[in-house]
């Protein structure tokens, strides 16, 4: 569970939801081809990265925050039995594929978790933490599935490119993550399922030297973890 962040951070690229029919079946096990623009993307995190802020419950350590969140959820009693997790997440994933087909949203299955990457440029204007109206439809569809599959917690993290001040970027990423979170809660998702994290420019997925690379790094990541007993 604690490795989740690294995993999310490593999500590479937007998986496009080609509107493929069953007529062209694609084996699920087929490995996702990872094509980094530059090899630096997989380099270890710099040690001197700015401290990201966990906005929920405001602890100064995000792992502690997540652990606390998990404890809270457990107390609430919502959980899946261990043998149901696989079925639950499989059908969950399939439901996303069925209902959320959009070039601006990528999805990756990681074990029992589902990771989604939403393009930052598509969601927000430059330097803004206000969701563009164009992205509302996609987020609504995601919220619909999240409402259907309730036995997960939702970790929303914001990321920026390296343009501008790091502190500013840190704040911007937090505000953007919160904006998505607010959209979901307004759509009826229980607020206690959601954790918001801001990473600023600390976890680029590709090199920031190109415009395309910077665009890829501006993103919102949503990680769905099943809540097991």
């Amino acid at each position: 569970m604690r490795k989740t962040f690294q995993r999310v951070a490593v999500i590479t690229t937007l998986l496009s939801f080609a509107a493929c029919d069953l007529i062209q079946p694609k084996p699920q096990q087929q490995p996702v081809e990872v094509k980094p623009a530059k090899p630096e993307w997989s380099a270890p995190k710099p040690a001197a990265a700015p401290k990201p802020t966990v906005t929920l419950a405001k602890p100064d350590n995000r792992e502690d925050a997540l652990a606390a969140h998990e404890r809270a959820l457990r107390k609430s009693g919502t959980a899946l039995s261990a043998e149901d997790v696989g079925y639950y997440m499989d059908t969950h994933e399939a439901r996303f594929i069925q209902l959320v087909r959009d070039d601006r949203v990528g999805m990756l299955r990681q074990g029992d978790s589902i990771a989604m990457v939403i393009s930052g440029s598509a969601s927000f204007a430059s330097n803004s933490a206000r969701l563009r109206p164009e992205i509302h439809g996609v987020l609504t569809a995601i919220a619909q599935v999240l409402e259907e599959y309730r036995d997960t917690r939702i970790i929303i993290s914001g990321h920026t490119d390296d343009a501008g001040e790091a502190d500013y970027n840190q704040q911007l990423s937090e505000r953007r993550a919160r904006a998505v979170s607010r959209f979901f809660t307004k759509s009826g998702i229980a607020a206690e399922r959601i954790v918001i994290l801001g990473y600023g420019e600390s976890l680029p997925i590709v090199d920031n030297s190109s415009a395309g690379g910077r665009a890829s790094n501006r993103r919102i990541e949503i990680l769905l973890e099943p809540l097991t007993l």
Binding site: L22, P25, K26, Q28, A94, Q98
Partner: protein, 543 residues
């Protein structure tokens, strides 16, 4: 000479027979091989047809189920209402392979229909999640309900469980064991199909698995889903299916082989037969005329010759009439040979005959020549073309051939009217009814060699010859003695008043050029020391 011929024929016959048998064996082998490969091919086609049918069936089923799920998701009915359940129920009944249809919310089955309604199938790991959002779980222990692993598909909030055994219809599979793989995953096998090899381990097409005594066939289809079908059948079953065909075909092969041997042997006999060779020889002009001079005994003067057929074989071997005339008779070649001799004579001696009108060349006629309608005309044409008078050609007819019929009598009369003289040949060897000689119009009587041989011995024939000579004289026939080999015989014959003779004493049969030389030498006076009259008288007295 003839034994050499026979040896050669036997050798050829053995060689050809061997060839015939080898040919038959090859033919038989070829037919067997053809049938075997044909059987394999037919079987491959059968199994390929089965595979196609199964594949199509499977594909239709999957597409069908997918479409059904899509329809269910679009239903505007209140979920789990009677109407909703009714729709699902009808769908389940319509398709025999559907075991259940469920309506789900996330991982909770809210309602459903079918035989396994109470069972919530929640396999832990999906085998396929397609880009459309369709999830599929292949049959496994996790999808097993009452001993039957089911194929499960879910799309949206509905799922359908399928009994994959229904895909392998017994009617299609017939008596084989078969397995069905979709996208490389095992979908279904027939009841006893636990030992069906997986498609990865089997080459495409038909394989004879001698180790397990079975035929394994694999076919792959890739229309919508990659589908593999592996069918297994014991070799015994394969044999029992094809044995009648193979047996029938083997029988046919045997008949064909026998026919082949028969044809080859017949052909070889025909090819190897002397009669065929003789026919060719006649056509190619290898039957030539040799001429044995006929001598006036008292003077030694050559008055003519008997044309004798000689067959020069390809290797230069000369075959006499004693061998080939019976053959020619069998083969019906006699008229051709006679005409060939006529032609040869006219070619060889035409000029000589024109210069010496009194020279007579004897041509032997066979019974067939007398009965042939065309022979007489052909003879006439040949003579006319060569400008030789018919009087130059004397026709010899054997006593045996001279059947006492009106027809032969008419033919002989006809020949005589045209100017030919007629000689009766081999006189005394036939049935010797001397009386009938009177009824025929003849010019010459030839005394057979057997009588001449007897001259000076105590044989019965020795007495007969006298009577023959007397009779010929009384009928006013010229007499020619054949086969004179000694002076003694000649003297005796002269003494008896025989005028003409032929034999080795004077000359053996000669090729035309030599005969011409001989004739010129003996044209007028004898080159041979002939006994004079006085001597003859003396001899007579001595006797």
């Amino acid at each position: 000479m003839s034994s050499k011929l026979i040896r050669k024929r036997e050798r050829n016959f053995v060689a050809l027979s061997t060839a015939a048998f080898i040919g038959a064996a090859l033919l038989f082998g070829l037919i067997t091989w053809l049938l075997w490969s044909e059987s394999i091919e037919t079987e491959e086609e059968r199994v390929a047809g089965l595979a196609r049918a199964l594949g199509q069936h499977t594909e239709e089923m999957i597409v069908d189920v997918r479409n059904m799920l899509e329809e269910f998701n679009k239903l505007q009915l209140a979920r789990c209402s009677d109407a909703h359940l009714n729709v699902m129920h009808r769908a389940a009944i319509a398709k025999p392979y559907i075991r259940s249809i469920g309506y789900w919310r996330a991982a909770e089955r809210l309602c459903g229909v079918g035989f396994i309604q109470a069972v919530e199938l929640k396999p832990s790991r999906a085998d396929r999640i397609y880009d459309s959002g369709v999830i599929a779980w292949w049959p496994s222990s996790q999808t097993e309900v009452s001993g039957v692993p089911l194929f499960l598909m879910r799309y949206g909030d509905h799922d359908i469980a399928i009994d994959p055994r229904m895909l392998l219809e017994p009617k299609l599979v017939q008596d084989r064991q078969a397995g069905l793989w979709v996208e490389g995953l095992p979908m279904a096998t027939t009841a006893d199909g636990s030992d069906i090899p997986s498609p990865d381990s089997v080459p495409i097409g038909l394989t004879v698995d001698t180790e397990n005594n079975r035929l394994v066939s694999r076919f792959s289809l890739g229309t919508i889903f990659p589908i593999d079908i592996v069918a297994v059948e014991t070799i015994d079953r394969f044999w029992s299916r094809y044995t009648p065909i193979l047996a029938a075909a083997a029988g046919l092969g045997l008949v064909l082989a026998t026919l082949w041997i028969y044809i080859v042997l017949r052909y070889s006999r025909h090819r190897l037969s002397l009669s065929t060779e003789l026919r060719e020889a006649v056509a190619l002009g290898r039957v030539r005329a040799y001429y044995q001079p006929v001598i006036e005994l008292s003077s030694g003067r050559c008055v003519g010759a008997e044309a004798l057929a000689r067959w020069i074989r390809e290797d230069g071997e000369m075959v006499g009439p004693d061998v080939f005339i019976p053959l020619a008779e069998q083969a019906g070649l006699v008229p051709e040979i006679t005409l060939a001799i006529v032609a040869a004579t006219l070619h060889d001696l035409g000029k000589l005959l024109k210069e010496h009108p009194h020279l007579r060349i004897n041509i032997n006629l066979a019974p067939e020549d007398l009965t042939s309608e065309s022979f007489s005309a052909s003879l006439g044409r040949s003579l006319a073309a060569a400008g030789v008078a018919p009087t130059s050609i004397k026709l010899e007819i054997t006593e045996r051939a001279m059947v006492d019929t009106d027809a032969s009598r008419a033919v002989i009369r006809n020949f005589r009217m045209r100017g030919h003289q007629i000689a009766i040949d081999d006189f005394g060897t036939g049935y010797s009814s001397l009386g009938y000689l009177q009824t025929l119009e003849l010019d010459t009587l030839k005394i057979d060699k057997s009588f001449v041989d007897a001259i000076g011995t105590e044989a019965v024939t020795n007495h007969v010859i006298g009577h023959v000579i007397d009779m010929a004289k009384s009928l006013q026939l010229d007499i020619v003695a054949e086969g004179i080999e000694s002076e003694q015989q000649a003297e005796w014959l002269i003494e008896q008043g025989v005028e003409y003779g032929q034999g080795f004493l004077y000359s053996r049969p000669l090729p035309c050029a030599q005969f011409r030389d001989y004739f010129h030498k003996h044209e007028e006076s004898s080159g041979h020391p002939m006994p004079d009259r006085a001597n003859l008288e003396t001899t007579k007295r001595v006797h």
